[in-house]
């Protein structure tokens, strides 16, 4: 054994291992680890790779349904979408790298999540991204928005997968920790899905893709620590993406997957060769002998430590059936990618690394991969807040002025400036483009489609983690239902501050409880996900942000609903109860500069009943225009429908309503625009089953007429909604 160096508890601490964790490593090995082994322990047991603070709680989430083929634990979740096909999807964070180097951080976030999906045999059909930036007034925000958007576009546009949706909001809690959550959805033949469990003693372990360089070493460890004022110095731990190589890798992998040469495949993401090799070996209960001299290297003089910890992008590890090396090599040579046999599977249960004739590391697989530390961290529940209704709120602006202010606010304004930088049409199957409730992407060559969306309202989760967790799932479900899709499953990307602080851990525990409850009530299981802790700078945490990415199935692409009101004389109908909940609302924040109050409660039984009613009417062809009511309430929802379709609305405002009616964010509500005949039928049908249905207006003309509160012309509304983001970015 080489390098029986003086690894100490202090050196371990510099690697992010606690004294207890280091003692455990020594106990597992029966000796002190050498430097390379220490590096491997540190990344395998980092929060990012081991989920040591979150595992206990993640286990409580519902992950099963008859249509779930593979739940959490693999590279991505897999669900059955009929016709012999499976949808494979996952969302993942790339927060820390994106703050340090926004273009490359965001680009490699997209690259990483794409690989997670095509590793399993799927052709990616869509990308989405949920972005949270700091206050627009913060000195860095403009630079971060510009770099992140360019990075996401630069990667997705080049590889040729459409970026079809997502979110982008701003809040001062993200000033020092932006969130970049990227989601990919892919489609694979149901009977040809690839997993990461190594099998077959003597089978070759293959390295394909880009060469390994010194970039991104300890990225996973960085993602498991808080930022401080010196964080900019961590730039060398950020990786550099090459979407062209990823495109080649995608095509080469799919070509190889069409043969039967692959036993197991795993991308090299966080913690690179270390986590990919350990995960494959561990899932298959195997050992691996690796000859590190065979790893394709970008530079000379790289050490075993660097090779094992590098996070160079666009690389895959594959276990092939013995004897199929030449077939596989021919494919990768065609695509001009590196291909190297770097090891063999063994029955030793150990990872043995050799370099220049020496054994440089010798570690037992199972204890490292499966017996990682697990913590039940102390947690404290957030205090319960009181509801806030219209009568509790001082009126600062007229309805008309408040609506214009909201439509031009950073969170609600049009994000066209962003999504026009993304190729959202390549692959020629994008049916509903960005800017709607959910994007709709046709399943190629068929008349069916997938709807997809990402959702979370961090201010709700901050005010009440349980209700906020529920709401994130419910809104995702609602956005899919509003297009006519049957919601099938979700992926979660859980972004929080430091789990070592009780109130943050309390937010996490509460949000998981809410997510789990909603997911059970709506038959909307969690099939994949990721946890990102330590999103805080100098002790200030972000608003808790459990992003929920959902996928639903549309049986007929010609029977969907869209947001835009595009015809005159339609009846505008509101489904669902309106109490006028203004706690933690955007109205309160933007107009009254207050973030107080409890978020709107989520009634999951009502969500389900109303959502299913709406979907049945879209499927039957009666409803072709539908929008869910969320941020900004009823007033904003109608304004968005008017802008999207280009036809105005005259509102019929019930007597005695206040700004709670206009801007309250009560949940489980949808707005439909239907012809007069269907309107009567829908109202009577919904009342029969106990769903409140209110006619709130009629379409026509080119103004949004708010009744006694005045009117707004479409061109004024458009100027406000479309103006803020380009104005801000070009300032």
């Amino acid at each position: 054994m080489q390098n029986l160096s003086n690894v100490t508890v202090e050196l371990a601490a510099e690697h992010g291992l606690t004294g207890g964790e280091f003692a455990r490593a020594v106990e597992i090995l029966g000796r002190t680890p050498n430097f390379t082994e220490l590096g491997i322990f540190s990344v395998m047991w980092s929060e990012h790779c081991s989920y040591k603070s979150s595992k206990k709680w993640l286990r409580t989430l519902p992950t099963e349904a008859p249509w779930v083929i593979c739940g959490p634990g693999e590279n991505a979740g897999v669900i059955d979408i009929g016709d012999g096909l499976a949808a494979i999807f996952k969302m993942e964070s790339h927060n820390h790298p994106s703050y340090i180097e926004p273009y490359q951080g965001a680009a490699t976030g997209v690259g990483g999540i794409l690989r997670d999906v095509f590793t399993m045999g799927a052709r990616p059909i869509a990308n989405l991204n949920a972005l949270r930036f700091g206050s627009p007034d913060h000195a860095k925000t403009r630079h971060l928005v510009s770099g992140v958007v360019a990075g996401i576009g630069g990667y997705g546009n080049c590889i040729g997968v459409p970026t079809v949706g997502g979110e982008c909001t701003f809040h001062t809690s993200y000033d020092g920790n932006i969130l970049v959550n990227a989601m990919t959805v892919g489609i694979a033949p149901k009977d040809n899905i690839f997993y990461a469990a190594a099998a077959g003693i003597g089978n070759p372990v293959i390295y394909v893709g880009s060469k390994t360089g010194r970039d991104g070493i300890h990225g996973a460890t960085m993602a498991s620590a808080e930022f401080d004022d010196q964080s900019d110095e961590k730039r060398p731990t950020v990786q550099v993406g090459d979407p062209f190589t990823e495109k080649l890798l995608l095509e080469a992998c799919l070509e190889l997957m069409a043969t039967d040469a692959i036993v197991a495949i795993q991308d090299m993401g966080a913690a690179g060769l270390t986590s990919s090799s350990f995960e494959m070996a561990s899932r298959g209960g195997m050992g691996i002998d690796l000859d590190l001299d065979q790893v394709p290297m970008r530079e000379t003089g790289m050490t075993a430590y660097e090779l094992m910890l590098s996070e160079s992008q666009e690389r895959m590890l594959i276990v092939l059936r013995a004897g199929r090396e030449d077939d596989a090599r021919a494919i990768f040579e065609k695509w001009e990618l590196d291909f190297a046999v770097i090891g063999r599977l063994t029955d030793s249960g150990r990872m043995v690394l050799k370099m220049a004739g020496d054994i440089v590391a010798d570690l037992p697989v199972a204890p490292l991969a499966e017996s990682a530390p697990e913590y039940d961290r102390p947690h404290r529940a957030s205090p319960k807040l009181d509801a806030i209704r219209g009568a509790d709120v001082i009126l600062r602006k007229s309805t008309r002025d408040a609506l214009l202010a909201l439509m031009g606010s950073p969170d609600l304004c049009s994000k066209r400036w962003i999504w026009e930088q993304y190729d959202h049409m390549v692959m020629a199957d994008t049916v509903v483009r960005p800017g709607a409730d959910a994007a709709v992407v046709r399943i190629h060559g068929s008349n069916r489609a997938l709807a997809m969306t990402t959702d979370c309202t961090p201010r709700y989760v901050f005010a009440d983690p349980v209700e906020g967790g529920k709401q994130a799932v419910a809104e995702c479900w609602r956005n899919l239902s509003a297009t006519g899709a049957k919601p099938l499953a979700i992926t979660d990307c859980l972004n929080f501050g430091s789990p070592e602080r009780e109130e943050v851990m309390g937010q996490f525990v509460g949000a998981i409880a809410g997510i789990g409850e909603a997911s059970r009530a709506l038959d909307f299981p969690i099939v994949s996900g990721n946890v990102s802790f330590y999103n805080e700078t100098n002790g200030v945490a972000i608003q808790p942000t459990p992003s929920i990415g959902g996928v639903g199935l549309i049986a007929r692409v010609d029977r969907i609903a869209r947001v835009g009101i595009n015809a005159e004389g339609l009846a505008i109908i509101l489904l669902g109860q309106t109490v006028g909940e203004l706690g933690a609302s955007l109205y309160l924040r933007e107009i009254n500069h207050s973030e107080a109050g409890a978020p709107p409660p989520v009634d999951l039984a009502q969500e389900r009943q109303i959502g299913e009613f709406v979907r049945s009417r879209i499927e039957s062809g009666d409803v072709r225009v539908c929008h869910d009511v969320s941020d900004g309430g009823l007033g904003v929802a109608v304004a968005e429908m008017v802008l999207a379709g280009g036809v105005g609305v005259t509102m019929s405002v019930p007597n005695g309503v206040d700004h709670g009616w206009w801007f309250g964010e009560d949940q489980a509500r949808y707005i439909l625009a239907v012809d007069q005949k269907s309107a009567a039928q829908i109202i009577s049908d919904s009342e029969k089953v106990g769903i409140k249905a209110t006619r709130i207006g009629t379409s026509g003309g080119s103004t949004l007429d708010l009744g006694a509160d005045g009117a707004i012309t479409l061109s004024d509304l458009r100027a406000v909604a479309e103006g803020w983001l380009p104005g801000y970015m070009n300032a």
Binding site: A150, G153, G154, N157, C158, I159, G160, D242, P243, F244, T245, K247, L248, W335, E336, W419, E420, Q421, Y422, D423, H424, M425, V426, M427, A428, D429, T430, V431, R433, R442, V557, D558
Partner: protein, 229 residues
């Protein structure tokens, strides 16, 4: 009508172009890998969009020097029709089959959106199903679509009627506001002197299906079928 679609490493609209051609012609085109040195006997060679060779060096520059492009140039000189879309247009200018260059967009950002085009010439194999002066909606998606040519070259294109499409607004007005990328004289597509080679930045294959939000691209492929069958 027999067609071939060239596939470079990094092409990503090859399938979209194949689907659109098949939809109009009724037969699937042959996909031809960049390392080939000869083309099958076809009526049309289509060079698709994407990021050939990652657009490294300069968009289209490396693809223009790949083995298959020698065969494309030779067949084009023999009179085989050639359509280049987006990156395909960039490759055709880089390989000398079409004049001018595609520079970085005026505002330096990638842009993907529907734009309106005015059909400037409808007496070509690519546009005979459109009316002269017709305004059509076709999307663009590019970072380097800002067409430029020197003033002599520009005059020649105008005089010879070789500007196939110009960016315009929904009423057909060609002005600076309707120019999405800064292209000289709002030029969106140009023809070679034989009028059998067309390069265009907009993607007709992306709006050739009403389910996707428009069908104006379809007539371009129907025109090809009409002219070359």
């Amino acid at each position: 009508m027999k067609a071939a679609v060239i596939v470079f490493p990094g092409s990503n609209c090859d399938r979209d172009l194949m689907v659109a051609l098949e939809q109009s012609a009724g037969a699937a085109p042959t996909m031809v890998w960049h390392r080939e040195t000869t083309l099958p006997d076809v009526d049309l060679i289509a060079v698709p969009g994407g990021f050939s060779y990652g657009d490294y060096l300069r968009s289209g520059a490396m693809a223009a020097r790949s083995p298959i492009m020698k065969a494309v140039v030779e067949d084009a000189r023999r009179g085989v029709a050639v359509l280049g879309v987006c990156n395909g247009f960039q490759i055709l200018t880089e390989s000398g089959l079409l004049p001018g260059v595609l520079m970085r967009n005026r505002d330096l950002r990638y842009v993907c959106r529907d734009v309106f085009l005015r059909v400037e010439q409808n007496d070509t194999p690519f546009s005979n199903k459109y009316a002269q002066g017709q305004v059509v909606k076709i999307p663009i998606a590019h970072h380097d679509g800002n067409f430029f040519i020197d003033s002599d070259g520009h005059r020649q294109l105008e005089d010879e009627g070789r500007i196939a499409f110009r960016y315009c607004d929904s009423a057909g007005l060609v002005d600076n506001r309707s120019n999405p990328n800064g292209s000289l004289a709002n030029i969106a597509g140009v023809l070679d002197p034989s009028r059998r080679i067309l390069g265009m930045m907009p993607h007709p294959e992306r709006l050739s299906d009403p389910n996707l939000g428009g069908n104006d691209g379809r007539a371009l492929f129907d025109s090809i079928l009409n002219a070359l069958s």
